[in-house]
Symmetry: C2
Subunit: 612 residues, 2 copies
Amino acid sequence: MSSLRRAMATVCVSGALDEKIAAAAAAGFDGIELFENDLLVSPWSPAEVRARCADLGLTIDLYQPFRDFEGVKPEQLAANLARAEHKFDVMAALGTDLVLVCSSVSPATIDDDDLAAEQLALLAERAQARGMRIAYEALAWGRNVSTWDHSWRIVQRAGHPALGLCLDSFHVLSREVSPDGISGITDGKVFFLQLADAPRLGMDVLQWSRHHRLFPGQGDFDLTGFVRRVLDTGYAGPLSLEVFNDVFRQADPVRTAVDAMRSLIALEDGIGGRPLPAAPALSVHAFTEFAVDGRSGPALQDALRGLGFAHTGQHRSKPVQLWEQGACRVVLNSAVVRPQAAGTAALSAFALTSADPDKSRARAEALLAPELPRARGPHEADLTAIAAPDGTSIFLSRDDNDWRADFLPTGPVLTDGAGLTRTDHLGLAQPFDHFDEAGLFYHSVLGLTHSTSGEFAAPLGLMRSRAFTTPDRGIRLALTVALLRRGDWAPAVADPQHVAFATDDIFATAAAIDRLGGTTLQVSNNYYDDLIARFALPGNEVDRLRRHGILYDRDPDGGELLHMYTPVYGGRVFFEILQRRGGHDGFGELNAPVRMAAHRHLRLSAARELPR
Amino acid sequence: MSSLRRAMATVCVSGALDEKIAAAAAAGFDGIELFENDLLVSPWSPAEVRARCADLGLTIDLYQPFRDFEGVKPEQLAANLARAEHKFDVMAALGTDLVLVCSSVSPATIDDDDLAAEQLALLAERAQARGMRIAYEALAWGRNVSTWDHSWRIVQRAGHPALGLCLDSFHVLSREVSPDGISGITDGKVFFLQLADAPRLGMDVLQWSRHHRLFPGQGDFDLTGFVRRVLDTGYAGPLSLEVFNDVFRQADPVRTAVDAMRSLIALEDGIGGRPLPAAPALSVHAFTEFAVDGRSGPALQDALRGLGFAHTGQHRSKPVQLWEQGACRVVLNSAVVRPQAAGTAALSAFALTSADPDKSRARAEALLAPELPRARGPHEADLTAIAAPDGTSIFLSRDDNDWRADFLPTGPVLTDGAGLTRTDHLGLAQPFDHFDEAGLFYHSVLGLTHSTSGEFAAPLGLMRSRAFTTPDRGIRLALTVALLRRGDWAPAVADPQHVAFATDDIFATAAAIDRLGGTTLQVSNNYYDDLIARFALPGNEVDRLRRHGILYDRDPDGGELLHMYTPVYGGRVFFEILQRRGGHDGFGELNAPVRMAAHRHLRLSAARELPR
């Protein structure tokens, strides 16, 4: 398969037309679909837009949309053709030869395929006279024509060389009609291909389309199968994204365009186009690094000591400490330059082992996640580092231990601190604008698999969650985001972050933490009273949970999750300790509001005790 | 009709349980519905919650929800009854005797009304033994029971004195089944009444219910008719709000509870319960006041002068100027104490004439919008002032002119400045958390009527709009809000505000403004080229519009709107000039993105010319 050109509709991103075009060019697109409204509000003339695109190496692949053309009475037809001639004038000035005509939504449309075909043929004749072509698209909510196969019958009936189809994955895959027959479209009659993914939502298809589209790989549609079928027809035009999304429409267009391009690169790899370096297997969560300062550093040290960690190493050249317990490693870094308030801490990096770090880096680079430059002393480990969408650095090393040579030992690793064995997962609240971008990043760049998704009511508003893991669950990441960007009253508390450590016996761990003087989060008594009713657990078992503030969940197969939390340190960071039994694969999402309420209670209590 | 008690479900508002309860009490509610999850995550025991509510004068009217009880096999029934006994324990500690049992959503539910009735009767028997009662509710998405009439048949079949209905306006009015028959429910069998409004949305009813409920009067449901029917049955329990709303769930609970209470007060008036002072007729938009400082003041003066306004008066005791043209009045106030950045301006107040300002004030006060205290010099007009949800002061006076005595004349009113005749409307971008609150405020407190609503795509994201007017259109307010709270990349520019002035001849006005050296907003040429195609307007007419940057819209009845704008002054404020022809009743919403793009172009151009 030869390489396909890549395009993006201007409607995908926020801003004025010049900002949209600049963003598309910066992300490496070959062309754009120009959305008419973006042109109408622009101070640039069509000729200026054409020149600007040419300067940036972008073609204008499609002008869109032209609405409510076909299935009209003769007098309306004349008016519609006059409208079309005006669009052709604009297209001539833009230097584009293809216009999208979407199936009519007007209640007045006459339901007669012959009439529609005849009128579209007339339009195509006019277009052809000016060296232009018509791409006819069945809107999923079209008045009479709402499925791809119906639009194809009409195009065949019209039989005009300047009339073909525009296939939009959303309009096709949001309907019940199978896309299988697409492969049978003949004579190069697919003139244009628009791509959008979407979550499966039970809602009016127009609203679904206008608000909730996503880039390929971010939703639930089978884009790979869809594109393969279209390519079977001999289609050689661009892969063009047309994504209406409320969040993308108000986010930084440069970031969004990169996210868009990443989705196409991953999709092309999936369909066997330009292949990417395969994602090397990731296996172990090697360490987690926190950026700290003179106030938050000691707070985290105390917390770790209380959980049974020991300070085991000091970095050779930087003010960086290593803390360990079993295979749990935490790095406290006082040298990270990040814009954060004094006294706060932040999860600044985490390290994973890769079967082939060079290949991981090459894949990341091909997916527009380039290696981060790092200051490194002589003899220090050469870790590959890339940036996640939330700004966290991700280190990739071949060996779980090669980076440890950077640290001078300061004490032995405790194996019997509190029985913590390894890092189970990270919980990362994502910046509002970048949740779907983060999901695509972890899936495409790191090759992690989407495991669970959900929505839950937290004390300060609704939350969404989405988890990514390796097949063997050696690495797990749980992403969350507020459903609405939080305002003054319910701030998102700087996107809290946490590390969850595994234990094989949470009760023994809890007892050890008690002995060590560590602090865990107190949980409402009401929660435990209800547990008895919810799961029909014996009262004395619940009392054991209650004593240590251990939360409980059980899946339909009987797998159990027992987990407990610490308070929040440095304004943003906390720890979780958990035990999975019987292959429980979740994250205790139902218990998240309990944890959040307990954290809020601590914060409000502290605030009330502060002198006014 | 005797007064009904007023209650609010804790799920209506944000925060921890103590914050929710305090907010309900502060807003004057008599009771709460305690949502189980709010209790489970609370550090307070049920007895402590009971005591806290008693301290604040709140009763706990309902504990909810108890799920998936009925239509199960015998072994499951035993477990469900055990679960119920646990809830009864909690209820006893809370001191409440009523629990909501919602119709089962479990796929395993047996579809057998006799079985459901029999099992609910068993549950009611258990409840009765403890002096408690069961309110059975048909969830709109219940597995077998999803309509009120079905739940009523089951309750009748069960025939147990401790089993009655819970009627929820959302579950009833979101379904096709008519609520008319509700009046026929006998024997006081409506045990509880839950109220929620909602916009009519084409989406899955569960999602609709969980995210988009509104307080009565904010949506499209006929709550008045619904409540009347329930009262016909002899229901004498509380009117209780149960509103799941994504925005309310993350907003200030104290504000939200006041909004909730206002909705109930207005509803009770509507059903002929506790009557309010009738809303006196409002007629004229008397003046608009801007808070300015030493930098924004002169900028607004220049702008007004360029539009043909004259400085006609100086306030007797304050640094306040009056500017006039025809019946258009603008007040520039340098003495307003508002937290705003230096150099900025803000629409701080507007004045309307009321047929009875005292009654307007009394109605506002009854609707929890108390009079604002004002500093007033001797001999100065005693204007009633109340605060709108966005903080704007609204002055109400009997006479269009009595407040003018506060100003010493500084020059004559120009009648021929630029032909502006009167204030047509205000355009007020609302703070994100308070859009629905504002709608209810203008409707209930001021008695304005909702005219149009819409949604449109702006350059920096989607927007919603909602307009309120007097019957004769003497006063119009157009509210807008971003669909998502804007973030760093696309800030809401401090919620822009504008005044639209009417003219009888916009071309003459535009020519006069040119002569006066005034500045109006340049509009994209592309917009005009498209107008020709869109409305089949003659080219020379469009060129007249183009020359002056006049935007155009036409309604299906041929009514026309011609309107033009100024640049933004003081970071936030601009003016519009418009001419309505043939009874056009809109606000040119389709043109709003054109205006926004032009404003953005000016801002970006200015930023690019700034030295770095």
